[in-house]
């Protein structure tokens, strides 16, 4: 290996012999760029020795042409004029590698995404632009230098942020694969939103019945460390070794001793709104979050506790000490991070027309809690105003979704869950009239169409058209809107109105994004690198996202993503080391004046001043963005693969200046 590398270097130091390969990409490029003209032009550029075109350059045949030219024609630089390096650079680099030509002696010119596609109406100028881009690529290629990948060791442990269904699946898969996993959950118990659901579509499984065994599995898996009632305080480091600081909120209960008997809650005199039941009933200041909680441990709500100490006296195992106030901090290192922070629900108060203040106007999650046997009404559907059974229920869809004034996206799950509610209620109470007011029914998943049909067969009525307003009439509600099919205004006199509220990115997403150096998109959810091909990867290597924190999702998709993220993290960690591109900054010490301008500018905190009076680049953190290199007043920072010379040559080619 070492021998061949030194041989490679010798070849590279000789005069550049560049091969230019122009791809038709079917008609994607050839449809608006005159390939023949680009080929003929390329032959006239300095240092170019071979020019060829191909219908699909990324095909095996196309790659073999390049290989042959490297071997037989002796070309030592490759320029491909084709599509985006984001998707195809890797293929070409591998081809170069297989011929012993250093893979960084490859330059990709994108004459599709920013050339043939946008300029499809102007063939002449598209062709001219393609020529210029190829020229700049060739100029840059003549200055490319061979580089070697760096190896980085990776810890075989992972952090999962958020203990909902997505996080639980990710954690279990990783733990089964032998990795050490830490789950950090904000609430006292794991389970997330799914723990609040009664039944789940499209099979009507009882949510608790399918979730609880997985939660128990988490607590029984020795290599999963569960940190509930905890939040991420700080994350530093890089792929392979992230240093994590977790704030464990003070519970005032010693969980080693607490046996989850619940006696403390019984004696506690303080009643507060129960968030788990959507504030429809009360819990105590010391409480266990819900009946299947994992861990089944009590927590004191410090903001509500009156310090009467009744619980302390009652606890038979002496687990409670209300004088404990300070949060604890736990620190550990992990090789990768999976973010599964889930979602929050849209606040229906923002849609004043739906009169959420009225007790009989509720959200779908509130209805879900009512339908649940362990909920505030023990599974009975009652009007909150007077506890009477409703005659008519109206479901209003897209509350806070598909609406430029709130969230312009579709929340994806509301159609099917409203159908679920109406259907389950119709089975239990056939005499209640159910109306679903929708604008489009999007029941897209496997088995969902059948689910929708069964709701129709049970007599649930579907009315297309937005609801404009909900008004009180006597002790009932008038739901006014449009019926698209009738072409008339309608009003339904209902006893209960259920708002299908949108899914939104959870509180704290922005803060966590900043901490982890990952992006969010315009909807506020975490952003994946590529919506189709890299759905769980983020722009920080080694940090993955899964579930509803990436965008609205139902349980099957959230689980799939949790498992996908576990797989991605596992393939990253399994070897214990990874190769990283050498695209980082290098300090030329002799030129460096230690002004530390670079240190203050680096977004990734990759450059620091050391005790030995040196500037040091952490190559694992450095993204090779080049900000430091551009800002260095003495030109002491070289950005690998984007050196000043390489960039200057590109500019020269484009501006027609002299070398």
């Amino acid at each position: 290996m070492a021998k061949s590398q030194s041989k490679k270097k010798k070849e590279d130091s000789s005069c550049p012999k560049i091969g230019v390969y122009v791809c038709h990409c079917g008609t994607n490029i050839a449809g608006s760029v005159n390939i023949e003209e680009v080929v003929n032009f390329s032959k006239t550029i300095e240092n170019v020795s071979v020019v060829r075109d191909h219908m699909y350059l990324c095909s095996e045949q196309g790659q073999n042409i390049i290989k042959d030219d490297i071997k037989k024609e002796g070309i030592n630089r490759v320029v491909a004029a084709c599509c985006s390096p984001r998707t195809h650079e890797e293929i070409f680099r591998k081809t170069l590698n297989s011929t012993n030509l250093n893979k960084y002696l490859y330059e990709q010119v994108n004459i599709r995404d920013q050339c043939s596609w946008p300029h499809f109406k102007d063939k002449e100028n598209a062709t001219n632009k393609a020529k210029q881009l190829v020229k700049s690529g060739v100029y840059r290629a003549s200055e490319l230098e061979p580089l070697e990948d760096r190896k980085l060791s990776v810890l075989k442990s992972a952090l999962v942020i958020g203990g909902g269904i997505s996080g639980i699946n990710a954690a279990l898969d990783l733990a089964r694969g032998g990795y050490q996993v830490y789950i950090v959950e904000r609430d006292p118990s794991i389970g997330g939103k799914m723990a609040q659901l009664d039944k789940t579509f499209p099979t009507n499984d009882c949510s608790a019945c399918i979730l609880a065994p997985m939660m128990v599995d988490v607590s029984n898996t020795p290599n999963i460390e569960l940190l509930t009632y905890s939040e991420i305080e700080d994350v530093s480091g890089h792929i392979g070794k992230y240093h994590v600081v977790v704030r464990k909120k003070q519970t005032s209960v010693d969980w080693e001793k607490c046996n989850g008997c619940g006696d403390c809650s019984i004696v506690c005199p303080v009643k507060v709104d129960n968030e788990f039941n959507c504030n429809m009933d009360k819990r105590k200041a010391i409480y266990i979050q819900f009946q299947q909680a994992i861990p089944m441990k009590a927590v004191i709500d410090k903001t509500k506790c009156i310090k009467c100490k009744l619980c302390e006296k009652r606890c038979q195992v002496g687990a409670i000490d209300i004088s404990k106030n300070d949060d604890e901090f736990v620190e550990f290192d992990v090789g990768s991070i999976i973010v599964t922070t889930g979602y929050d629900l849209f606040d229906p108060n923002k849609k004043a027309e739906y009169d959420y203040d009225h007790p009989n106007v509720i959200t779908s999650l509130e209805l879900e809690r009512m339908m649940c046997a362990s909920g505030p009404t023990k599974g009975e559907i009652l009007r909150p105003s007077d506890g009477r059974k409703p005659h008519t229920i109206s479901f209003i869809q897209c509350v806070g979704s598909r609406d430029e004034k709130t969230n312009d996206y579709c929340s994806r799950i509301c159609c099917t869950y409203s159908i679920k509610h109406a259907r389950l209620l119709k089975e239990k109470y056939p005499d209640i009239d159910m109306f679903i007011h929708y604008i489009d029914l999007r029941c897209f998943g496997k088995g969902y169409e059948e689910y929708y049909r069964m709701a129709r067969e049970k007599g649930v009525k579907f009315i297309r058209g937005r609801i404009s307003q909900v008004d009180s009439i006597g002790d009932r509600l008038e739901v006014s809107g449009d019926d698209d099919t009738l072409g008339e205004q309608i009003s339904v006199v209902a006893d209960l109105v259920v708002l299908a509220v949108a899914m939104e990115s959870p509180k704290g997403t922005k803060k966590l994004a900043n901490l982890l150096n990952i992006s969010t998109d315009k909807t506020g959810f975490f952003k994946e690198i590529h919506p189709k091909l890299k759905p769980v990867s983020t722009d920080s290597d080694g940090i993955f996202i899964a579930g509803a924190c990436q965008g609205p999702k139902e349980i099957p998709d959230a689980v799939s993503q949790g498992k996908a993220a576990a797989s991605a993290a596992s393939s990253l960690m399994s070897k214990g080391e990874i190769e990283i591109e050498p695209l980082f900054a290098q300090i030329i010490e002799d030129l460096c004046a230690r002004c530390r301008t670079c240190e203050s500018l680096c977004t990734y905190k990759a450059i620091r001043y050391t005790e030995e009076d040196k500037m040091e680049v952490d190559i694992a953190l450095c993204k090779g963005c080049g900000v430091c290199s551009a800002a260095c007043p003495s030109g002491a920072i070289k950005a690998n693969h984007f050196t000043t010379k390489q960039v200057r040559m590109q500019i020269l080619a484009l501006t027609g200046g002299n070398k």
Binding site: R456, G459, L486, E488
Partner: protein, 182 residues
């Protein structure tokens, strides 16, 4: 006009199902029925809307407008409906319900009486005269012989169709037609 839905009328949909529109609940308002309907563009017969009205129990809207009687029963909607909701079956059921409520257009009454008394939905006297004039063989249809007509009348009299369709014993056909074989 604003339509108020209060305690929906389930009687209509139940009756439609009883009278043969068994799959009316399957309708999800895709509009396939209405898009191919040969009479929709020129009449008030909007089958997609009618299906929806049945589900919402808006019987007055359907029955008062009498549009269901304009359906040609070509069965195109029934053939094409992706949910097999049977729109034509629903129309038949609605016509029966409508007739039971005494709501039946004059033209339908005339057709029914024509069949009952002449054996034909439309009168054919002019044709019979013309055929005789050109020495063509005489008609051999239900209306050509009294015995066939008597059989038709027997069938109608044995059901309550005669009452529903307002069959009159002393009915006289319009125009120059005469009761066959009299």
């Amino acid at each position: 006009m604003k339509i108020v839905l209060n305690e929906t009328n389930k009687a209509l949909v139940n009756k439609v199902i009883e009278y043969g529109g068994k799959r009316v609940y399957e309708c999800f308002q895709c509009g396939m029925c209405a898009s191919g309907c040969p009479v929709a563009s020129d009449t008030d017969h909007k089958i997609k809307r009618t299906m929806h009205q049945v589900l919402l129990g808006l019987d007055e809207q359907i029955l008062d407008k009498k549009a269901i009687w304009l359906c040609t029963t070509c069965f195109m909607c029934l053939e094409r409906c992706p949910q097999n909701a049977g729109p034509t079956d629903v129309v038949f059921a609605l016509r029966r319900i409508s007739a039971e409520n005494g709501i039946i257009p004059e033209a339908q009454i005339e057709v029914a009486n024509n069949i009952y008394h002449l054996g034909h939905a439309v009168t054919v006297q002019k044709g019979i005269t013309l055929r005789a004039k050109v020495k063509a063989p005489p008609l051999t249809t239900a209306g050509s012989d009294k015995k066939y007509i008597l059989e038709i009348q027997k069938v109608v009299d044995s059901t309550h169709a005669g009452k529903l369709l307002k069959i009159k014993k002393d009915w006289k056909p319009k125009g120059d037609d005469v009761i066959a074989c009299d």
